[in-house]
Symmetry: C2
Subunit: 125 residues, 2 copies
Protein backbone atom coordinates (compact mmCIF):
# COMPACT_ATOMS: atom_id res chain seq x y z
CA UNK A 1 0.00 0.00 0.00
CA UNK A 2 1.07 3.59 -0.55
CA UNK A 3 2.32 5.26 2.66
CA UNK A 4 0.34 8.18 4.13
CA UNK A 5 1.61 11.75 4.26
CA UNK A 6 1.87 11.59 8.08
CA UNK A 7 4.29 8.59 7.77
CA UNK A 8 6.58 10.44 5.30
CA UNK A 9 6.44 14.12 6.32
CA UNK A 10 9.03 15.78 8.57
CA UNK A 11 7.48 16.65 11.90
CA UNK A 12 10.26 19.23 12.16
CA UNK A 13 9.16 22.58 10.76
CA UNK A 14 10.08 26.22 11.18
CA UNK A 15 7.54 28.99 11.71
CA UNK A 16 7.65 32.79 11.46
CA UNK A 17 5.20 35.65 12.04
CA UNK A 18 4.15 37.94 9.19
CA UNK A 19 5.35 41.13 10.88
CA UNK A 20 8.95 39.85 11.15
CA UNK A 21 11.62 41.03 8.71
CA UNK A 22 12.93 39.34 5.57
CA UNK A 23 16.31 39.14 7.31
CA UNK A 24 14.70 37.29 10.26
CA UNK A 25 13.32 34.82 7.72
CA UNK A 26 16.72 34.45 6.03
CA UNK A 27 18.36 33.73 9.40
CA UNK A 28 15.83 31.01 10.19
CA UNK A 29 16.36 29.34 6.78
CA UNK A 30 20.14 29.44 7.31
CA UNK A 31 20.15 28.30 10.96
CA UNK A 32 17.83 25.34 10.23
CA UNK A 33 19.32 24.51 6.83
CA UNK A 34 15.71 24.29 5.63
CA UNK A 35 14.21 26.18 2.70
CA UNK A 36 10.56 26.52 3.82
CA UNK A 37 8.98 28.65 6.59
CA UNK A 38 5.35 28.35 7.65
CA UNK A 39 3.93 31.81 8.37
CA UNK A 40 1.68 31.54 11.42
CA UNK A 41 -0.92 33.95 12.89
CA UNK A 42 -0.89 34.96 16.58
CA UNK A 43 -3.54 32.30 17.19
CA UNK A 44 -1.42 29.58 15.53
CA UNK A 45 -3.08 29.20 12.12
CA UNK A 46 -1.21 28.95 8.81
CA UNK A 47 -1.48 32.26 6.93
CA UNK A 48 1.32 31.97 4.36
CA UNK A 49 4.54 30.27 3.24
CA UNK A 50 7.95 31.84 2.64
CA UNK A 51 10.84 29.96 1.01
CA UNK A 52 14.47 30.64 0.11
CA UNK A 53 13.13 31.35 -3.41
CA UNK A 54 11.13 34.29 -2.02
CA UNK A 55 14.25 35.65 -0.30
CA UNK A 56 16.08 35.34 -3.62
CA UNK A 57 13.25 37.26 -5.32
CA UNK A 58 13.55 40.01 -2.67
CA UNK A 59 17.27 40.28 -3.50
CA UNK A 60 16.54 40.37 -7.25
CA UNK A 61 14.02 43.19 -6.73
CA UNK A 62 16.07 44.85 -3.94
CA UNK A 63 12.95 45.00 -1.77
CA UNK A 64 13.39 43.89 1.82
CA UNK A 65 10.12 44.81 3.52
CA UNK A 66 8.33 42.49 5.97
CA UNK A 67 7.67 38.76 5.74
CA UNK A 68 4.10 39.69 4.81
CA UNK A 69 5.25 41.55 1.69
CA UNK A 70 7.24 38.58 0.27
CA UNK A 71 5.30 35.50 1.48
CA UNK A 72 2.81 33.52 -0.60
CA UNK A 73 -0.68 33.73 0.93
CA UNK A 74 -2.58 31.02 -0.98
CA UNK A 75 -0.77 28.02 0.45
CA UNK A 76 -1.03 24.56 -1.07
CA UNK A 77 -1.38 22.18 1.86
CA UNK A 78 -2.20 18.59 2.54
CA UNK A 79 -3.91 16.49 5.19
CA UNK A 80 -2.00 13.92 7.31
CA UNK A 81 -4.07 10.96 6.07
CA UNK A 82 -3.68 11.64 2.36
CA UNK A 83 -1.76 9.00 0.37
CA UNK A 84 1.72 10.25 -0.46
CA UNK A 85 1.30 9.67 -4.24
CA UNK A 86 -1.49 12.26 -4.25
CA UNK A 87 0.77 14.76 -2.46
CA UNK A 88 3.57 14.05 -4.97
CA UNK A 89 1.17 14.72 -7.83
CA UNK A 90 0.14 18.08 -6.33
CA UNK A 91 3.75 19.17 -5.77
CA UNK A 92 4.51 18.34 -9.39
CA UNK A 93 1.38 19.92 -10.84
CA UNK A 94 1.96 23.29 -9.09
CA UNK A 95 5.76 23.32 -9.33
CA UNK A 96 6.42 23.64 -5.60
CA UNK A 97 8.85 21.61 -3.47
CA UNK A 98 6.98 21.43 -0.14
CA UNK A 99 3.53 21.63 1.46
CA UNK A 100 2.59 22.23 5.08
CA UNK A 101 0.50 19.40 6.56
CA UNK A 102 -2.40 20.93 8.47
CA UNK A 103 -5.29 19.79 10.67
CA UNK A 104 -8.91 20.92 10.33
CA UNK A 105 -8.13 24.14 12.27
CA UNK A 106 -5.22 25.03 9.89
CA UNK A 107 -2.66 24.25 12.57
CA UNK A 108 0.62 22.97 11.15
CA UNK A 109 1.46 19.34 12.05
CA UNK A 110 4.55 19.06 9.83
CA UNK A 111 5.77 19.70 6.30
CA UNK A 112 6.13 17.28 3.40
CA UNK A 113 8.89 18.03 0.89
CA UNK A 114 9.92 16.46 -2.41
CA UNK A 115 13.10 15.52 -0.48
CA UNK A 116 10.95 13.35 1.87
CA UNK A 117 9.26 11.69 -1.10
CA UNK A 118 12.45 11.26 -3.15
CA UNK A 119 13.99 9.47 -0.16
CA UNK A 120 11.32 6.73 -0.53
CA UNK A 121 13.07 5.79 -3.79
CA UNK A 122 16.61 5.88 -2.36
CA UNK A 123 18.51 2.64 -2.82
CA UNK A 124 18.16 0.74 0.44
CA UNK A 125 21.61 -0.82 0.93
Amino acid sequence: AVPLVKDVMSSFFVTIKKDQTVQDAAKKIWENSFNHLAVISDTGELVGILTAWDISKAVAENCFDSVESVMTRKVLTCAPNEPVDLAARRLDRYGVSAMPVIDTQRRVLGIITSDNISKLLARRY
Copy 2:
Protein backbone atom coordinates in the same frame (compact mmCIF):
# COMPACT_ATOMS: atom_id res chain seq x y z
CA ALA B 1 14.16 -1.86 -13.86
CA VAL B 2 15.11 1.37 -12.13
CA PRO B 3 15.24 4.33 -14.56
CA LEU B 4 18.58 6.04 -15.23
CA VAL B 5 19.43 9.57 -14.15
CA LYS B 6 19.46 10.74 -17.80
CA ASP B 7 15.81 9.59 -18.19
CA VAL B 8 14.66 11.51 -15.08
CA MET B 9 16.82 14.65 -14.94
CA SER B 10 15.72 18.01 -16.33
CA SER B 11 17.79 18.90 -19.37
CA PHE B 12 16.84 22.51 -18.58
CA PHE B 13 19.45 24.11 -16.33
CA VAL B 14 20.66 27.61 -15.53
CA THR B 15 24.33 28.59 -15.41
CA ILE B 16 26.23 31.55 -14.03
CA LYS B 17 29.88 32.67 -13.92
CA LYS B 18 31.73 33.05 -10.61
CA ASP B 19 32.57 36.74 -11.16
CA GLN B 20 28.89 37.73 -11.47
CA THR B 21 27.05 39.36 -8.56
CA VAL B 22 24.77 37.77 -5.96
CA GLN B 23 21.99 39.94 -7.36
CA ASP B 24 22.61 38.52 -10.88
CA ALA B 25 22.20 35.06 -9.34
CA ALA B 26 19.01 36.07 -7.53
CA LYS B 27 17.55 37.41 -10.80
CA LYS B 28 18.30 34.14 -12.61
CA ILE B 29 16.66 32.08 -9.84
CA TRP B 30 13.59 34.33 -9.97
CA GLU B 31 13.29 34.53 -13.77
CA ASN B 32 13.59 30.76 -14.19
CA SER B 33 11.59 29.85 -11.08
CA PHE B 34 14.41 27.40 -10.35
CA ASN B 35 16.41 27.19 -7.11
CA HIS B 36 19.75 25.84 -8.42
CA LEU B 37 22.47 27.52 -10.54
CA ALA B 38 25.46 25.67 -11.97
CA VAL B 39 28.57 27.87 -11.73
CA ILE B 40 30.59 27.37 -14.91
CA SER B 41 34.18 28.35 -15.80
CA ASP B 42 35.03 30.28 -18.98
CA THR B 43 35.88 26.95 -20.62
CA GLY B 44 32.50 25.43 -19.67
CA GLU B 45 33.39 23.21 -16.71
CA LEU B 46 31.39 22.99 -13.49
CA VAL B 47 33.22 24.90 -10.71
CA GLY B 48 30.47 25.38 -8.12
CA ILE B 49 26.77 25.42 -7.27
CA LEU B 50 24.68 28.30 -5.92
CA THR B 51 21.10 27.87 -4.69
CA ALA B 52 18.33 30.07 -3.30
CA TRP B 53 19.52 28.84 0.11
CA ASP B 54 22.91 30.51 -0.46
CA ILE B 55 21.15 33.76 -1.41
CA SER B 56 19.15 33.51 1.81
CA LYS B 57 22.40 32.98 3.76
CA ALA B 58 23.85 36.11 2.11
CA VAL B 59 20.80 38.06 3.30
CA ALA B 60 21.13 36.63 6.83
CA GLU B 61 24.78 37.66 6.96
CA ASN B 62 24.22 40.90 5.02
CA CYS B 63 27.12 40.00 2.70
CA PHE B 64 26.46 40.44 -1.00
CA ASP B 65 29.86 39.95 -2.62
CA SER B 66 30.34 37.91 -5.80
CA VAL B 67 28.89 34.54 -6.78
CA GLU B 68 32.30 33.08 -5.95
CA SER B 69 32.04 34.22 -2.31
CA VAL B 70 28.66 32.51 -1.69
CA MET B 71 28.77 29.42 -3.93
CA THR B 72 29.62 25.88 -2.80
CA ARG B 73 32.79 24.65 -4.50
CA LYS B 74 32.77 20.92 -3.69
CA VAL B 75 29.77 19.96 -5.80
CA LEU B 76 28.00 16.63 -5.44
CA THR B 77 27.30 15.46 -8.97
CA CYS B 78 26.12 12.40 -10.78
CA ALA B 79 26.68 10.63 -14.08
CA PRO B 80 23.91 10.29 -16.71
CA ASN B 81 23.96 6.47 -16.63
CA GLU B 82 23.65 6.07 -12.86
CA PRO B 83 20.46 4.41 -11.61
CA VAL B 84 18.12 6.99 -10.12
CA ASP B 85 17.81 5.17 -6.76
CA LEU B 86 21.52 5.72 -6.20
CA ALA B 87 21.12 9.45 -6.95
CA ALA B 88 18.16 9.60 -4.53
CA ARG B 89 20.28 7.99 -1.82
CA ARG B 90 23.08 10.53 -2.31
CA LEU B 91 20.68 13.49 -2.18
CA ASP B 92 19.26 12.15 1.06
CA ARG B 93 22.61 11.29 2.64
CA TYR B 94 24.08 14.77 2.06
CA GLY B 95 20.86 16.77 2.63
CA VAL B 96 20.85 18.51 -0.75
CA SER B 97 17.91 18.85 -3.15
CA ALA B 98 19.68 18.73 -6.54
CA MET B 99 22.84 17.53 -8.31
CA PRO B 100 24.28 18.60 -11.65
CA VAL B 101 24.65 15.70 -14.10
CA ILE B 102 28.08 15.94 -15.70
CA ASP B 103 30.10 14.17 -18.40
CA THR B 104 33.72 13.04 -18.07
CA GLN B 105 34.96 16.58 -18.86
CA ARG B 106 32.77 18.12 -16.07
CA ARG B 107 30.44 19.67 -18.61
CA VAL B 108 26.86 19.98 -17.35
CA LEU B 109 24.32 17.84 -19.22
CA GLY B 110 21.36 18.59 -16.92
CA ILE B 111 20.35 18.67 -13.28
CA ILE B 112 18.52 16.07 -11.23
CA THR B 113 16.36 17.37 -8.38
CA SER B 114 14.36 15.69 -5.62
CA ASP B 115 11.36 17.24 -7.46
CA ASN B 116 12.21 15.09 -10.55
CA ILE B 117 12.49 11.97 -8.38
CA SER B 118 9.37 12.72 -6.28
CA LYS B 119 7.42 13.04 -9.53
CA LEU B 120 8.16 9.34 -10.24
CA LEU B 121 5.88 8.53 -7.29
CA ALA B 122 3.10 10.94 -8.31
CA ARG B 123 -0.26 9.25 -8.71
CA ARG B 124 -0.69 8.55 -12.39
CA TYR B 125 -4.40 9.24 -13.00
